[in-house]
């Protein structure tokens, strides 16, 4: 159907391109997802984006599944499938060919150099992700406090992160946030 093929095409184009620029993984691409989904295409509101991020962190599986949720809200099950495959496909293909190429030239030094060069980039991108989601979800000082406590606990202890997500859920349920 024409009315449905156009949002799916937009999803495929957006996430297919994003996949090749997602240096450092899916969480690094969150600022770009927010820009595309909220600012450019108006698929989601700020609030919905924060909710989708929360749901993706609560569900099992790779973090990249946030694009499944965005895709679903744009175009249902077809959108979920299209967005996920678009986000994973191009880079998976690239990984397949690069790994075959590297298997043939094992002692190449440039992968180590590129990797070292990309580390600060991906940390900067993830910090930006944190800031952007914090701006959409931390609307009260208690919310900010929960974020800080969760960050401190996860940084300093080996507590299972799921407990902190559940604690956040309980506090939200109780109306504290």
């Amino acid at each position: 159907m024409n009315s449905e093929s156009s949002p799916i095409a937009a999803l495929v184009w957006t996430f297919g391109l994003m996949s090749l620029f997602a240096v450092g993984g899916a969480n690094s691409a969150i600022p770009e997802m927010h820009r595309a989904a909220v600012d450019v295409h108006h698929w989601l509101t700020d609030k919905q984006f924060a909710d989708v991020f929360a749901i993706s962190q609560l569900s099992p599986g790779p973090n990249v599944l946030i694009v499944t949720l965005i895709g679903y809200s744009v175009a249902g099950v077809g959108g979920a499938l299209a967005a996920t495959l678009a986000m994973c496909g191009p880079t998976a293909l690239l990984a397949y060919y690069v790994s075959r190429f590297l298997d043939r030239s094992r002692d190449a030094r440039w992968p180590a150099i590129i990797q070292a060069a990309l580390v600060p980039l991906s940390i900067g991108l993830m910090a930006a992700s944190g800031l952007i989601v914090a701006q959409t979800s931390d609307q009260s000082w208690i919310a900010v406090l929960i974020t800080i406590v969760a960050a401190a606990l996860a940084f300093a202890t080996r507590t299972n992160p799921l407990w902190m997500l559940l604690a956040g859920a309980l506090l939200g349920f109780a109306g504290v946030v």
């Binding site: 450092g24 993984g25 749901i55 962190q57 599944l65 979920a80 931390d138």
Partner: protein, 203 residues
């Protein structure tokens, strides 16, 4: 061993090695990646390592680190890249697809069901508040990962690395420039400074 099977890439089984490298089949690949993916809340890497290295002994710890390093330096979801590279190493393209389908398929079904529930009930106040609480904690977890990843740079007093990190943070997080444009400038710049820094260390 059947006579027509090709010589194994790994050294022949040897008394000192506890178990020879095992060759997973397609179904085995699919199931193993589905299991680690469904176990992985807030990240699958830990479970992937446990399953591939410790449980199944499909790779040594060094091989796993090398493979993961490759998948980390390539763009895209790292663990997705890892599933494809890992699966195809054992069973070619079909193996890559099987591992990929296992990793992404089952959680995608769960995520889609959750998305449908959210679309239907997302306006209910108590659900919104609960999700808001989850989001606050999840952002905290993200910041913790950022801090942990920054520690080596801080310890090394890697000034150029920290400068590039801050510049990317400002450009993307504060000014909200598009990712592609920022990376097209930042990646060559970062590679150049890394190469220069390594030359200066050697000199």
């Amino acid at each position: 061993m059947p006579p027509e099977s090709p010589p194994a890439a790994a050294p022949a089984p040897d008394a000192s090695v506890p178990s020879p490298p095992l060759q997973p089949g397609l179904l085995e690949l699919f199931l193993a990646f589905a299991k680690m993916s469904l176990a992985g809340f807030g990240g699958v890497l830990v479970w992937a390592r446990r399953s591939i290295v410790e449980q199944h002994r499909w790779m040594t710890a060094e091989e796993f680190n090398e493979t993961f390093a490759l998948c980390h330096f390539l763009p895209g979801p790292n663990i997705v890249n890892l599933s494809v590279v890992f699966g195809s190493r054992f069973r070619g393209i079909a193996g890559g697809l099987a591992a990929f389908a296992g990793l992404v398929g089952p959680p995608m079904v769960i995520a889609t069901v959750l998305a449908a529930l959210y679309a239907r009930y997302g306006d209910i106040d108590i659900l919104r508040r609960t999700l808001a609480g989850v989001a606050c904690a999840a952002v905290g977890l993200l910041f913790a990962v950022v801090l942990k990843m920054m520690m080596p740079l801080l310890k090394r007093r890697d000034v150029t690395g920290l400068a590039i990190l801050s510049a990317v943070f400002v450009a993307i997080g504060l000014i909200r420039w598009p990712l592609q444009i920022v990376l097209l400038v930042a990646i060559p710049l970062s590679i150049a400074t890394t190469v220069l820094a390594r030359r200066m260390v050697k000199a």
